[in-house]
Symmetry: D2
Subunit: 502 residues, 4 copies
């Protein structure tokens, strides 16, 4: 292993990281992650219970808080809670506090703006035409500009969430009907949004014109329609997957059934390719494609692109497993659980507080030393963000006696932050933005390191290759090519003008 490419400082830092006790690695949250999941249901006697189950199935999209709003024909009901759905919405009193036949729900991962209940969605407004509740997955890229304008006209914001802009735009719209108010509002926002909205009479499901964030439509056996961020929330409720809400489409459910409108200028879709790599559950289906199959395909591509002579293929659990199975099948090398995960800590570091982030790799991972000792292994992981977990995992393998430790990553190098509803570190904290692959290999201490190519990734999702001039997906985190303007980002001097109560 050649460390000479590092400055002394970096080497020292790397060594200090390795030596850190299991509870103090400050960067050990080495995943990008989705910020939200949404669910909606209309005209079903058990609206609240089905929404709870739907959110439970979407828990991986946001573990910090959850909220549900229902409507019973005459009024709205709400329950919000920090923590997991299975812990806070699982009792009869909670379900009973949410009567009604329609409902929407939201799970969230907090980022900026604090983690209090104030920011928990769905958001609600008492409009002149009645109540309106909304839940948003995604991130607006001109929310600060819009907020400034709204505040100057007297709108009072209750949170620092970009999503609150939507509801104020609806409230201040001068159109008469809720559908028109909603379209009026959505035409003014930029960025990524998959939205479910609820009024006394309507359930809305909307995807932004590029379709960056996912939203699917399902149908229950009694004929009720549901919306969900992923199809797994249909499965748990026994709902049939009908189709994706299309990019730029507003789907309205009312007592007469399902209606569609496309009020935005037509654009080429650019769904988020990282949903396939990591965010979505492997048993989810988007545009008819199985996420598990795509991930296995990436493993196959990896094995083709950068094979290495080893004894064992070892997944970094749990997200690396499907790609590792694909790699092992393609490479005809035994697949083994070389790293055992302690499931009592939840998905890797998804909680935002520092205390939990500091819990280290050993709290979650242990080497299955009996399999590793004396073997040449290739580790399969889904991505490298800051590299801190990779570094520790490689170390874990070496301490367990691995003769060689190679690493293969089921996505291209993550070089750029996401502004569309994914929590990413600043660019200067992304390992791939600071080093080339050879340097990264040295940094994490691997005998070799390879990433799937961007074209390999596109092949895995079913494309022939990436169409350079007009990519079929949003892959900005790998390429820096953002599909929308980034209004707020370009307006740097306004960011400190929100008067907020701590």
């Amino acid at each position: 292993m050649d460390n000479s490419i590092f400055s002394k400082d970096i080497k020292n830092w790397r060594n200090s990281l390795k030596k850190l006790p299991f509870t103090s690695n400050p960067f050990d949250c080495d995943k990008l992650h989705e910020e939200c999941g949404v669910f909606g249901i209309f005209n079903h006697p058990d609206a609240a219970a089905y929404t709870v189950l739907g959110l439970h199935a979407l828990q991986h999209r946001g573990q910090e808080a959850a909220g549900i709003v229902t409507h019973d024909g005459s009024q709205f009901y709400s329950h919000k809670s920090l923590g997991h759905v299975a812990d806070n919405f699982n009792t009869q009193p909670v379900i009973e506090s949410l009567p009604g036949t329609s409902g929407i729900g939201h799970v969230r991962y907090s980022t900026s703006g604090g983690a209090g209940l104030r920011n928990v969605q769905p958001l609600f407004a008492d409009l002149s035409i009645g109540g309106f509740a909304v839940a948003h997955n995604g991130n607006l890229t001109n929310s600060f500009q819009l907020r400034k304008t709204l505040v100057s006209k007297g709108s009072i914001f209750q949170s620092t969430s970009d999503s609150e802009v939507i509801i104020h735009l609806v409230a201040t719209s001068t159109f008469s009907h809720i559908q028109d108010k909603l379209i009026d509002a959505l035409r003014r926002i930029e960025g990524a949004f998959a939205i479910v909205g609820l009024t006394k009479d309507y359930l809305f499901g909307v995807r932004d014109p590029l379709g960056v964030r996912p939203l699917v439509i399902g149908k229950l056996s009694n004929g009720s329609y549901v919306f969900a961020s992923e199809s797994v929330a249909l499965d748990i409720n026994g709902a049939e997957y009908i189709r994706d809400v299309e990019p730029g489409e507003i789907v309205t459910i009312d007592k007469d059934g399902i209606h569609s409108t496309k009020p935005f200028p037509a654009e080429e879709p650019r769904p988020c390719i990282f949903e396939h790599v990591y965010f979505s559950r492997p048993d989810s289906i988007f545009k008819g494609t199985s996420i598990y199959r795509v991930r296995k395909n990436i493993g196959v591509e990896l094995a083709k692109e950068s094979s290495v002579e080893v004894d064992l293929v070892i997944p970094v659990p749990d997200s690396g497993v499907p790609a590792a199975i694909g790699y092992a099948q393609q490479a005809k090398i035994p697949f083994e659980l070389g790293i055992i995960r302690n499931h009592y800590v939840g998905r890797t570091f998804i909680e935002p507080s520092n205390k939990i982030r500091h819990l280290g790799v050993k709290l979650k991972h242990n080497a299955n030393a009996a399999e590793i000792k004396g073997k040449r292994v290739v580790l399969i992981d889904d991505s490298i963000v800051r590299g801190t977990t990779s570094l520790k995992i490689v170390d874990l393998m070496r301490q367990a006696g691995a003769k060689e430790v190679h690493m293969r990553i089921a996505s291209p190098p993550t070089t750029d932050p996401c502004f569309y509803g994914v929590d990413t570190p600043e660019k200067d904290q992304l390992l791939a933005a600071r080093m080339n692959v050879r340097e990264m290999a040295a940094y994490i201490g691997a005998d070799s390191l390879e990433f799937v190519t961007i074209d390999g990734l596109y092949r895995a999702v079913g494309e022939e290759n990436r169409v350079t001039e007009k990519p079929q997906y949003c892959d900005a985190c790998f390429t820096g090519e953002y599909p929308t303007v980034l209004t707020d980002k370009e307006d740097n001097n306004g960011s400190n003008q929100i008067s907020e109560m701590k």
Copy 2:
């Protein structure tokens, strides 16, 4: 005792009430009570701690919840909690979570609109000119009308509190400066309000043109100014009582000192006379008058107006004590603690939830039978609202062996509800609205019952008598003469149009 004036139904109801076990009297909240207390401080290094102490001294004005907002020169901080100040704001971490040199606070008693944290004040808005926090004691009588207009223009309300109207009016005002926005807003509201407001640069103290609700100004030894609903909140902080904020006055504190403006048309003041009877603490001073002295005076008036030959004067604790002392001194009859109060239940039934309301008289009161037995006693209480407690107290005396039980009340009969920030039952639940005094005596089972006359009350507060054509106080609860229009009350058909989340 002649019960024949009662219909059989009423007699049965009365008897059933007497027989109710100690935990099930549904009407045992037999006091009017103030709904709120406010406090403000500017330019003091311990703003939060002083606000906590001030609110603690005002706790009797609202026990359900409390909130504080502070500002440290660059941003606002907030802490709100259900429950008592002494239980929820008494720790170092809470104080430290509220840094800054200025602050406002609020204690509240909940009425309609639910008791959640959402309704807890101070309210806050991020205005285009910066943050603005406000705490309100009183009640607006045209808030629903204003709310309808604001909502139709896009304002999103977070609560059902009438106070929220104020902050939306400020937010949507087209004036440029906060003072002008505030005046603009206040000119549009009707009803009673004592308000403290806080921005980065200013602390405001405002009383409505009639001065219905109280607000005093104090000064600390370091020169800092404070506002408080009652002077006891100055005492606890060692602040000197300067003067009352005058009816219709906006007092502004800034780095240059204290400023006054009177932007409303001049009106004759009509402060609430019930503050003297019951709401305020006996050690508070309003307009230079001691509340304790006034209450003793009422007892003196009562003894003059309706003396009775008895062996003992017994206060209904605790609120009847000062009047009982005055009565005993005037009548030269021994004052004795004939009823012992269990202080572990807090002030009589001030919590709004039904469970607590149902706790009966025996949980709080016990007869001091050794003193009572074989004696003729006169009980002194501050008021009779529904009569349910009086009925039980009289019964308690008789069970303890009293030979005669007379009752004297230190206020005139309460015949009308208050719309200015006092929680009162509907008119048809007020005993004095349903019966004459003789019937009331029979109802509560007393050998005699007398109320102080309205003129006696006015004499006790220092007037020669009530000026009929232009009363010096708001005494609407005794006279039905409301000093303002009651816009919302007169518009009955709109009350159900708020879309609210439960």
Copy 3:
């Protein structure tokens, strides 16, 4: 005021105390207080509810924790909680978790040994003859000796409470019947005890041979018997006061009725005289004597013994009120509420934690300055322990403009600690153990200070005077004459041998 008798150090300390902010007086718990109250009921369908009410009426005897054990004919049920009865035993689910027709309860004030639930009574043991629960008010003076012996034979203690000795003595007794086991156990303990005990078939009520701690018997209208520390717990339940359990008596209630036995050598009773001065509620009756009347009598004695020319008699609330009424009536000087108490802090400092102890006088007391200003006042308080509150109260009066401040105390100087179940400071912290009355007056800053004489106190409780050779009461805290041996106290070297888990 002549301070010259003080050393400079003491003067400085005194001044520093006066200047302490309202939240930091480390000694502001200036009362002795009772450590426990007990209640028992047998053969009543609402045993748990009645026990809850009984404990609520006894809450002043111990605010830190409460516990109830019931029996339903086949098994025992228990609920224990830190905090007040009215907060933790007031719900239907709690009552329903305590089925059965017999029950005992306990409220406690914690002292040494930590405040965890582990120490909360009633204690319970599964004996070979069935379950046995016990609640104890008092303190054993040979518990450590007994514990050492029990541990050496294999008894495992769960707490550091002296009361646990009783249940181990019962468990290891070789007698066959529970009554004999109990007598066997009680014959071995020294000190003060009022005990209620419960088995499947029996409810026991026991008082130690000297009758130091009180215990009364009551009877409900349905014939059920109850035990309680004070008669107020009978009143709240509508029970008739039958008589005191006699010193040295074991009263047994079973299905056949009430039985009495006196298994201890006869001794002259020595009930605690401080129960009359402060511990008991004024509406309680002991040996047919009204506590309120005794306290008024003490005020009368004080006025006779040490009158002073003043304008007002002012009680230190709430415990000084009855004596102040007696004093005012005897001296023919107006009784006025010159100090107003904020009841949201509970009885003076009864909570044991330092944080609460540090809350100062201003959180609870405010001068009623309008009455005080320019007046000569005499303050009536029940006792002076460390003198810290007195010092602050006198200061409060002077700041409010009192011309002269005299103090009269309704008990003799407290010179010695109690070892019989009362929480007292070490002797060297008792002001009266360190100074004579003149020095104490100077220390607290009063113009004069007098205590009722010991004979005056005995007269007030109905004796002609104290019989020196054989006092009628335990008055050790005033005289140092302890009515029992103090085995543990005399064996100093063993105190550190309890291996305890923190």
Copy 4:
């Protein structure tokens, strides 16, 4: 599928189970599970932190509660909590509340006797020779007999746990030294026990003469010794695995190092074979054998013994994964994740309360339908207890479109309950005790069902075969051959004599 072998009743029941909504299957806890895990450490500056990590690694052995006792040379400290180690022992204040250089800890799964803190271990006693703390994994088979004797002599039990017998036996032992007291106590108990004990001077690690429950010894780099139920608790702390505590051995750690004694009559070891099948983590090592390797071996044996022509090998996650990998490798059939587990519900149903038990299979498992559709699959699971989960999983596969569903189980049929510290249903609830394999296949709806043979299992753990006359392991749950007498079980009439407080 031939259901005709079933009575109509059973068929109806089966169908009703299938139709139950996902939240109401009353038997969905279809695993045996270990009841406890223990950890101990001696002479290390971070004793508490290391114990926390050790217990975290053992969390799968008991999720309901955890406790730690430490000693700092002069006294003991304790922290106990319901819930997970990572949630309740992860803060600095908790660690700081546990000072000292030695400590023991315990994680538990509750069974009978309630789930309160009272039953949480370690248990502690203040013996005449000082404090003694103990944590026990296993179950005593004569604890009730011993308890009866102890109670009759005056021992007071605090819990209904069998483990408490141990500490009372130690307390009442007439030997002088703690080692002798411990041996004296252990000689009187029957059943399974792996124990860690702590005194001021010693840390003990003990295994019962048959070694039914595991206990390993590790050594830290600073020379400190640790004990743990499984080697994974060494790994997380960076401790080296030294060896197993031997059956019948008492290992004592003191300041002079490590000492061993074998005070029991020598017996042939009978370690629990189910530890290999399910209880232990796959990365644990017992007697030098890798659990993961054993489980893969079982899969290999299964593939040899009962191969079936299918397209895919699918593990029932997570416990079926290693055997499925072994099966797939042996059978040369692709291994695929055909069932996706939602990890937000924790290990299958390990919580004991009914509410959680009722959560159904869909909350945890979803079919990866894209892989399953039209395929012949073999499911690999570790065991079948009541069969309820298996039934639902098979159903899940069929709904997802599987053409054939075969099931292979990595253990023999579970026919008999365990009395050695494993929570098992009554025998009549064990599917294999009620049906033969063909009936079971029909019951769960599988096209075929096979279990590994008992000899196959023995081969997988490294034996040639099971030695019938003297089996090398305790396999009573598969064979009904219990290696100890079952004293309490045979004495049925005493079980209701414990007087317990609910």
